[in-house]
Amino acid sequence: MDRDQLCMLQELMAVEFTALEFHLYLDTHPTDQKALMEYNSVVQKLKVLKQQYQERYGPITYEQPSSYPWQWINEPWPWEICYE
């Protein structure tokens, strides 16, 4: 995996993690408007980033169309990536 892809993947991990943290927080604080607004804006950012990543490097979700041949099975799988 080249530098650029790894860099984008890690940015994606970071933004998705921020969304998850707000998600858990909101489960027990459903009326926190500030957190809710920030969650919505992070999720929007995440959606764009994930779309860009998949257009460039192939599908990582089930909601992404594939070019020919079927791209989902392309290596590396997550446990095979060297995250250096």
């Binding site: 890690q10 970071a14 993690f17 921020t18 943290e21 707000f22 927080y25 500030k34 920030e38 992070v42």
Partner: protein, 48 residues
């Protein structure tokens, strides 16, 4: 000593609610394992 307030009763566990104010930027949050400064309690390795 922790003094319970009058809303509390004995024989019950209480965890204070987090009050959110600000968060680490996404990469810093990922590397720390939480985006919330008030919940960040890193482990200091015990040497012996």
């Amino acid at each position: 000593m922790f003094i319970p307030n009058d809303q509390m009763r004995l024989a019950r566990a209480y965890v204070p609610f987090q009050v959110y104010s600000e968060h680490f930027n996404p990469m810093e949050g990922l590397l720390k394992g939480t985006i919330f400064p008030e919940l960040y309690f890193p482990y200091r390795k015990y040497h012996r």
